[in-house]
Symmetry: C2
DNA sequence: TTCGTTTATGCAAGCGCTTGTACAACTTTT
DNA sequence: AAAAGTTGTACAAGCGCTTGCATAAACGAA
């Protein structure tokens, strides 16, 4: 047994000459405590430098003001921005945020889930790791009464869970249409692993747009990145651009790969956008400043973060009343046309 | 009083038919429990889906495995990368990370400090907000036995605190030398608020390099950004470039302002690097891909994050033995020469 | 004056875990 | 066979707070 280390409510109670329950109630602004007593207690607490122990409170009330955030990584603009906005929104509501990076590892996602459950977080906002294909760990959290909201990379396997997504199908469709409208006809597509719903949806959107335009979708023009890193993009660009029958446009799964694709095309002496159009998902802060500037699709990370927190807290607080209605919220994306796809002057 | 909600060690104890202390010890691999009993307990725990309540453990042991991270924001490459690496290193050591964004507000920094103290975090890694000039909140944390490590934006006012920094003076000196070596002579400098040690140091470095080179430092060529945002950079660039006596090089406090400076120069028809050299602190992921690519100074965010965590945990664990020796660790930066300062061909 | 109310405070149990100490059951020593 | 060690486990207090219930004080009404 450890000896007590810091000022606790017993010390405050002794200082004022009341009981600890009075101190506790005074500090929590309970109506039953007289204003005079409250003032005395608060003054004493301040004087002694008392800081309420949140652990004890949480243990006692069986609830914390903490939200766990599980994301693949933090060094991608979209994700760090998402976490930024989640933290911001959570702070407003008086919640703290525990950040967990899975590095796209399923094992780590599970480990973190256990940590968060052990910490008794009130809720979890998660973007699935690339590897994740089974979801018992999420079920486990729910069994423990922890609310979960999924963002961006979601799954249909988890029923009764609020999801915040963009319309991946539609977005990919429109991105493809944009290329077609610009006059590109031989369009390659760089996808993430289609086990992930979002990549599957995007691929379908691409294929549908091609089909409707009567353009051929060649199998060798559809490539799959593993981690969609810069290097991944370079490798794939290399493969695509060295095909005997070369595509004249590439739709990449994110902006990192878009940039590496453009860079690699230049190295090979292929002109962007004249000989190769490039569009990428996920706007990055500097997409506008590249030369050529990169056409990309802006995901509303701010709205996504805010909504995720808002819905999560709604659900956390819903227990009292009744059952919560789980929603799938689909947000709009924005295609930002820049030089990398401006084949027509009018572009 | 809330009723118990989840499986606890009493349930496990009942299942196995031993006391709760045996369960607790078995789960913690205490040597006094026989292997046979341990196995039974663990099996039962698994079977019942028992998850240890970390709150209760922390309350009981008076220590948590949580590190608080206080940073100005998360939507800057350097900081999100720093946090990324802190989280990564903390995970290795079995610690979770609570992330707090101050938005460069002193008030918020204090608020968060209180939250972290209330959460009884084991330690705190902090990068000061731009506004912060007094440090009682850090003293407060230390009085409560919470270890603190300062990173990047630090202060000399906090004695006996480990600090992880770059050599700001030297780095600015060398950056300035680089411009001079390239043949630029009329060099302007965009600084952050010099109340912040780091900006003051950098400014001194700049001035010293100029002095040693026998170049004049005009007061009107030294500008102060408020938040060093993109817009801030544009505003300052505009002021500088419209001076009757225009500088032919600008050393900016970060890469965001470097980019906005370049963009604005182009708008004004000023050629970079021919008519204007631009170098910026803080490498961004796309600095290399801009046209012109941006010369910048790489801060070792990975090493800084790792070291911060390592030193912090060393200090946390040092209490047992004796007093910990606080260190100031100064890390090397790297100047990455790119097109935006290549005045000489050889550059 | 007495009694029902209201108002303010205290008592004590409980949240789930850790841990110093006591103790029973064996094993070893003499 | 008794004393002295070894295990292995249980008991109970304690971490700091919340909270249902009891109780005391103060008040106006009867």
């Amino acid at each position: 047994m450890k000896k007590k280390t810091r000022i606790n409510i017993y010390d405050v109670a002794a200082e004022v000459g009341v009981s600890i329950s009075t101190v506790s109630r005074a500090l929590n602004d309970d109506a039953r405590i007289s204003p005079k007593t409250k003032a005395k207690v608060k003054a004493a607490a301040m004087k002694l430098g008392f800081q309420k122990n949140a652990l004890a409170t949480s243990l006692s009330t069986n609830q914390t003001k903490v939200i766990g955030v599980i994301v693949p990584q933090l060094n991608r603009e979209f994700l760090s921005s998402l976490v930024h906005n989640i933290e911001e929104a959570a702070f407003e509501k008086g919640y703290s945020v525990i950040v967990c990076q899975t590095n796209n590892s399923y094992e780590r996602e599970k480990t973190y889930m256990d940590t968060l459950i052990a910490s008794r977080v009130a809720g979890i906002v998660a973007t699935l790791s690339l590897e994740t294909e089974s979801f018992e760990h999420f079920e486990k959290a729910r069994e423990q009464g922890i609310k979960v909201v999924l963002v961006d990379r979601v799954t249909t396997s988890l029923k009764g869970t609020t999801k915040i997504v963009i319309d991946d199908y539609r977005t990919a469709f429109e991105g493809t249409r944009h290329l077609i409208d610009q006059g590109y006809t031989q369009i390659a597509y760089v996808s993430g692993p289609t086990k992930q719903l979002l990549y599957a949806d995007r691929l379908r959107g691409f294929q549908q747009a091609m089909k409707e335009a009567g353009l051929p979708v060649k199998q060798e023009w559809i490539k799959y990145g593993s981690n969609l890193s810069f290097a991944d993009g370079t490798r794939i660009a290399d493969e695509l651009l060295k095909l005997k029958e070369r595509p004249n446009a590439i739709f990449t799964a994110n902006n990192l790969t878009a940039i590496s694709t453009i860079a690699h095309a230049e190295e090979l002496g292929i002109k962007v956008p004249e000989q190769l159009g490039v569009i990428g998902f996920s706007e990055e802060p500097f997409s506008a400043f590249m030369k050529p500037s990169v056409t990309s699709i802006r995901q509303p990370s701010k709205a996504m973060g805010q909504l995720a927190v808002q819905k999560l807290i709604e659900e956390i607080n819903s227990d009292q009343n009744g059952s919560y209605i789980h929603q799938k919220v689909v947000l709009d994306t924005e295609l930002i046309c820049r030089d990398s796809t401006r084949l027509r002057k009018s572009g």
